[in-house]
Amino acid sequence: MEEVILKTGNLTKKYGSQTVVDGLNIEIKRGEIFGLLGPNGAGKSTTMNMLCSITRPTAGTIELFGKNSEKHKKEVIRRIGYIPQELAIHGKLKAWENVELFTSLYGIKGENLRRAVEESLEYVGLSERRNEFAKNFSGGMKRRLNIACAIGHQPELLIFDEPTVGIDPQSRNFILEKIKESNKNGATVIYTSHYMEEVEAICTRIAIMDNGKMIACGTSKELKQMVAGESEDITLEEVFLTLTGKKLRDYAE
């Protein structure tokens, strides 16, 4: 039986009278690449924040690695690597200094830290540019550095929040390949993006959220069948639009 690495039970988040996440039940098994889709304001980022203990749920439970994340917060969050949507790096630090700083937060030091920094930079293809200031990097390089800063402590669960926004196709392809490589090396991945083809290309299972609720979950094939029956002659984007509607969403997440 495959190990369940993440399980939420009726996960709910309310801000005042507004319910942002409404009774969410997700189960992610070790080794999966789990895609989380949803229009703006669907509750994806809030869900991510709750999984990473940045935001506390109003109700419901989160089990990470078989443990209640509230009770065992320090233990479980150290096994997570979170790659935020915004670039969380210091422009006036060199590439290796950024990785050193954020990797050291997880208690890694000395020779192990030095090795982790080198491996992380190597992994994202920035070894040659290790001594350059992050502010001088291109958008794609910054994105890759952003990833390097989150993987040095070798997390078991990687959470990517739209990691390919605003970068060139080569960098995007590089990042997607690296996500697949991480997964092959044993990491479980949660991935959010607005690019349907990316999600379809790398995710083993996809959940679609809208108005704080999960409205569909399954493999790409299962989602297509859910909407178009056996024909499957439909794209993931069409599935998404059919399930969430074509009305513009102008929420701030």
């Binding site: 969050i77 969380a88 790096i89 200094e97 937060l105 830290l113």
Partner: protein, 362 residues
Amino acid sequence: MIRYLIKNNFKLMLRNKAILAAMLIGPILVIAMLSSAFEDMMASYESTEEFKTGYRISEDSIFSGNMEEIKRAGKEAGIVFENYPDGDPKAIMEQNDLAGFLVIEGETYTVYESADYETQGKILEYFMGQVEKQVSGQIRNSMFPKEEKEITLPVQKLEFMPAVDSKDYYGIIEVVYFIWCGVVSVAGVLNSEKRNGISQRFQISGMSEMGLYLARWVPAVLTTVCETVVTVLLTVALFGISWGNNPLTILVLLVTTMGAMAVGLLLYSVFQNLAVTIVALFTLVWFMGFFGGSFETYMFSTVSDSLKNLSPIYHVNRVLVEYSCMGKSDYTVSSILYMVAITVVCTALTIFINTIRKRGKA
């Protein structure tokens, strides 16, 4: 590991060249530009020639045994005391062209000042403040004698601060003033953390609030200490400012920096906005400096003693100026304790506020 965070935050602060330059050049420019003004301000007190003051003292006064010594010390400070046992002080002052009149009764004294001799009046006030402090100290000591039971008030030599050179006074005071503004050196780190959403990474790593605080406070102190060392050396080399040879000067400057950074970080945790924090900090420092002798010399300022004592800048200024001209100061312990207390209280408050805020956000 917090040391890596401290190390990298220190690098960030040192790489913020604009702020670093402003903090280094700022005090030097101020001293250079205002040195002649400082000289004039100080000269208004120093150039005062010997002046006459009337006095009257009751027999039961605690000062009675010390009057001869007070007169001797007064002469040293340029005050000639003349005894007028009877009559209205104001009329006597007018008739004899006196700068002031001192009436000492029991445990209190009253200083009358002539409107025509404003500066001399301030010098007399300061002089009597010093006398009162020293006589009270002698009484306290004699109230609890080890063996003798009789209260005695021995006539001892009263010590008065020798004249301070204006460049030394204002040079030292300006450096202290800039130390209090030193928290702007953290601006680079705070700006970068806020702009880049780096606090999320800290939250996810489970870093403690204490660790995060120290990761800002320690490099801020280090940066400001480095700036201060360079500035002090520049003040010596460029203006010949004498900092004295008391090694405690270094300790006083260090604890001042520690306290000043703690106050700055507390203000930032309250306002969560760098611009507002800097405005609030500069306002606070201005008031503390106003009461503490950063503008008017603390010796002859019009500010009351209780307000002066409230200002941490006053204690630090006084210690450093006295080290410079006398090599010692009675304010050493009070200034160090004051700054350590400020550091501890502000640190605890900042951590408390940040913890509450984080819980609230979650």
